[in-house]
């Protein structure tokens, strides 16, 4: 019942939003809620995977990202509406074609150490240059370099020159000399003590969002890092901080304490003195501990959700807000399994697959109440990329049509399947041109094919329990809608860490994976899935798509660029070359913190600057009111941008 009221309230709020006059009422209601609360100065949260190291250049672990985004500030940061506001940079400017970005840095800031004391090191433009210098050296083993290395002028050549010297391919140049030439070779300059300039290879209107999402562009005190050598960032004592918090306590695989940095430039905005993390390896445990008041946050998986309905906690269950990561199916277009290879290269069969799944049932594994909320038919997420008029990228035609199509259509899938069979098989069910053979997908599996219907499909996913359950649903759905006499869906699982033996040598027909929109531009994913793109592990050949991507990259305006990208993405998804189906979003959560008080970080970071934490968990009603007020305010904020 409470749930119903909450939904009703949200609806009323949503309707009222259209009438701006009521916006003020909403803001007042939201303020009333916030003012009625008492706030804590400590937030107890938890993490589940062990922390490898704090080296923000060589890890992408979610928990490390979270800590680093609180402890090392970037040049800009999003405010609570996701609008970029000054952080370490006071102001910035860019040239006409957005290939040169210049940032003016706050003066007189010092790095602090793990006791919160100021060090002798001052934060200057040089520290940003040195960050790039650090990742540009292959010896430092920076992680996920591709985007940044290809974007910043000269970095690609610098990196590979050093690498060639290291492995003896280039002998006429000496390593030290090349390192000395960094400032000339690479397009990142400290124009003066407090001005840093990035020169880019291509136009990058999305550069600010990249600054938010990529840890590679964060500053480093080079002298300090080099003095420590390999010890840099192995624990909290071997790291310097310049963000709102510093890591005052670190017990490996156990606990982390963030303490407010009293020397922080924006200290007044800090609302929490300490953020305590403890390791709780299991979701069930964190839920139990939340109920016993021993942690301030817990995620609630779909299964646990059902058990909380009808209890005192029902009222505290809040839906998680967004995820830019998309789950999709890869299809292998050049596999050894000739039965599947013959069919997948047929457009009708791809469409049959596309329409064969009831995506809402799949989504219900993660979101039991409103599964439709997490369906996603496109690769890039809705709400991640906007043009300069505030229009969402996924609202560009023809991507909008793909986004809004209902792909749960077994009848249509059956028709496409029959069409495919008519084209590819003779009347006895023999697939033309396919001989009986043994398919060797070892170490994943090996099986025999007979060249007749049903088509053998070898599905491969990790042995994660949830993924296996999903795979079993795939099997049931695809065999149901295409007919078990037409397809034989086999599930194979591999252990997560043997990925390299599965995806690299392409030992699969269908493969479950995810891609994530990393910054506010479709190119982040789309340039990787072209015919010769690094992520094209399905080995498809799509010249039409490639051509559109080329056009997009050469586009004059951002709008034109998005238009071509949208056409390209629609082509890829609409023709079933890859099949995105849901977002990676997982169910619900319960928390003591008030939503919409933290900066709106979209790309996997979490910031506690400004977060308000109460003495009791937030309820659905409160959250609904706050959300309605927030939406109105955000609309205004984005329009004002």
């Amino acid at each position: 019942m409470k749930r119903f009221i909450a939904i009703l309230m949200t609806l009323i709020m949503a309707m009222s939003m259209t009438m701006t006059a009521q916006g003020e009422d909403l803001a007042a209601a939201a303020n009333a809620i916030i003012e009625s609360k008492t706030f804590e100065r400590t937030y107890d949260t938890n993490f589940s995977s062990s922390i490898a190291s704090f080296n923000y250049y060589s890890t992408n672990l979610a928990i490390v990202r979270e800590i680093v985004s609180n402890c090392i500030d970037g040049l800009v940061e999003p405010d609570i509406y996701g609008v970029y506001v000054p952080s370490l940079a006071e102001s910035w400017e860019t040239n006409e074609d957005q290939t040169v970005w210049t940032f003016k840095i706050r003066e007189g800031l010092k790095w602090v150490d793990h006791t919160g004391a100021e060090t002798e090191y001052e934060l200057t433009a040089q520290d940003f240059v040195d960050g790039i210098r650090y990742i540009g050296d292959p010896l430092n083993g920076a992680y996920s370099l591709r985007v940044v290395r290809n974007l910043i002028k000269g970095l690609y050549d610098y990196y590979w020159l050093l690498d060639d010297i290291d492995c003896g391919l280039v002998t006429d140049q000496n390593r030290e000399d090349v390192v000395k030439q960094f400032d000339e070779m690479v397009g990142v300059k400290a124009l003066d003590k407090y001005t840093v300039q990035y020169q880019l290879e291509n136009s990058a209107p999305y550069f600010l969002s990249l600054l938010e999402s990529s840890m590679l562009i964060l500053p480093v005190e080079y002298e300090y890092a080099m003095a420590l050598g390999e010890d840099f960032a192995v624990d909290n004592e071997h790291l310097l901080y310049c963000g709102a918090y510093y890591v005052s306590n670190f017990e490996r695989d156990k606990a982390i304490t963030l303490s407010a940095n009293t020397h922080y430039w924006d200290y007044d905005k800090i609302t929490l003195d300490t953020v305590e993390y403890q390791m709780i390896p299991d979701g069930t445990t964190s839920l139990e501990m939340f109920k016993r008041g021993m942690t301030d946050y817990t995620s609630v998986e779909a299964e646990a959700y059902d058990s909380l309905v009808g209890t005192e906690w029902e009222d505290n269950l809040l839906p998680t807000s967004h995820s830019f990561s998309t789950n999709y199916l890869w299809l292998d277009f050049a596999g050894e399994n000739t039965e599947f290879k013959t069919f997948i290269n047929n457009e009708n069969f791809r469409k049959a697959l596309l329409y064969s799944m009831d995506r809402e049932v799949l989504a219900a594994l993660r979101e039991p109440v409103d599964p439709a909320r997490i369906l996603r038919n496109t690769i890039n997420a809705e709400g991640a990329i906007y043009d300069s008029n505030g229009k969402d990228y996924t609202d560009y035609s023809p991507l909008k049509e793909i986004k809004e199509t209902n792909f749960n259509n077994p009848e249509l899938a059956r028709q496409y399947m029959e069409a495919a069979i008519a084209e590819l098989c003779d009347e006895n069910g023999n697939i033309k041109g396919v001989e009986p053979a043994t398919v060797d997908y070892l170490p994943v599996c090996s099986f025999d094919i007979d060249g007749k219907l049903p088509v053998t499909i070898c599905y491969v996913g990790t042995d994660d329990e949830d993924e296996i359950i999903m795979a079993q649903l795939f099997k049931a759905m695809i065999e149901d809608s295409l007919g078990a006499e037409n397809v034989d869906f086999q599930i194979q699982a591999f252990s997560g860490w043997t990925y390299g033996t599965v995806a690299d040598p392409l030992n699969y027909d269908i493969y479950f994976d995810s891609l994530s929109t990393g910054y506010a531009d479709p190119s982040g994913i789309l340039t990787r899935v072209t015919t010769d793109g690094a992520e094209n592990v399905g080995r498809y050949d799509v010249p039409e798509f490639d051509a559109l991507i080329e056009k997009a990259l050469a586009a004059k305006t951002f709008e034109e660029r998005l238009q071509y990208f949208a056409e390209a993405e629609a082509y890829l998804c609409g023709n079933g070359f890859i099949i995105p189906f849901i977002s990676s979003l997982r169910g619900y959560y319960m928390s003591y913190s008030i939503p919409y008080t933290s900066p709106l970080t979209l790309y996997g970071n979490t910031k506690y600057k400004g977060t308000l934490v109460m003495a009791e968990p937030i309820t659905q009603e409160e959250s609904a009111v706050l959300e309605a007020a927030y939406e109105v305010a955000r609309e205004a904020a984005l329009a004002g941008k």
Partner: protein, 308 residues
Amino acid sequence: MENMQLNPLKFRAKVFDQMASEDTGYSNYSYWRSTFRTFFKNKAVMLLVILIVAIIVMGFLYPAISDIDPNKVSLKRKEWNQRPTWEHWFGTDQLGRDIWTRAWYGVRNSFLLAFCIALSDVGIGMIVGAIWGYNKKLDPIMIEIYNVITNIPSTVYLVLLAYIMNTSYLTLFISMASRGWIVEARFFRNRILSIRDSEYNLASRCLGTPMRRIATKNIIPHIISLIIMEAALCIPYSIGSEVFLGFVGVGLPVEAITLGNIVNQGRASFTLHPYQMLLPTIILCIITVAFYVIGNKFADASDPRNHV
């Protein structure tokens, strides 16, 4: 003490019987018959034997006669995680599969697997152990091999195995059987050594008893109870280690059903749907307890000192 007096009236002279005095040297004692008689005298043991036979029969019969597909996934959400009903006696799991059916398939598969492992561990172990125990020259080499094998963490070669082989019963069998045999071999070697050198065997050998007779009459009866006990313990062991192997990546194919993977469905199922664990756990407990007790009692029964 003082009250205890011999009453002559209680004694009577026995008449000498020529036939009976000739009879003494012989009894119709048969080792195996006595063993089984002693074994089945215990009512609890009888019950456990019946139970275990019933479970095994059910495990092999049910999959053969039932037409319910244990892997039949339901696409309707409301059929997932059902509580026990008339249609599904023990409810359904998170994809709406019938737990009752799955449990019996699990019993069958787990038993076959455990049986193979018991056979290989105890079988190979016994043969190697016997050779090891009887050959003094081999001893230092075998001890070194034993030390090396048991000191290499099994995860190292299991992970390698996971890279080479696909998931199947054969892979699981190979990885489970990879180490057990040497442990068993050492165990049997120690027992055989101590029995071989015990006084009555020395005496027997001095009296010229042939080796074959010593082996069949004096050594094997001692060993046989150990064999049965060790084999009995293989069942719970194999079910337990299956879980670890799955964790390392040499588990079973996704659709294979064993008691191990039903019971270890995960943390969530345990706290949220405890009834899903009920049947498989009970069966598992009965199997473990039964084999443990049966093994122990059989060991007792096979000890000639306990025979009547």
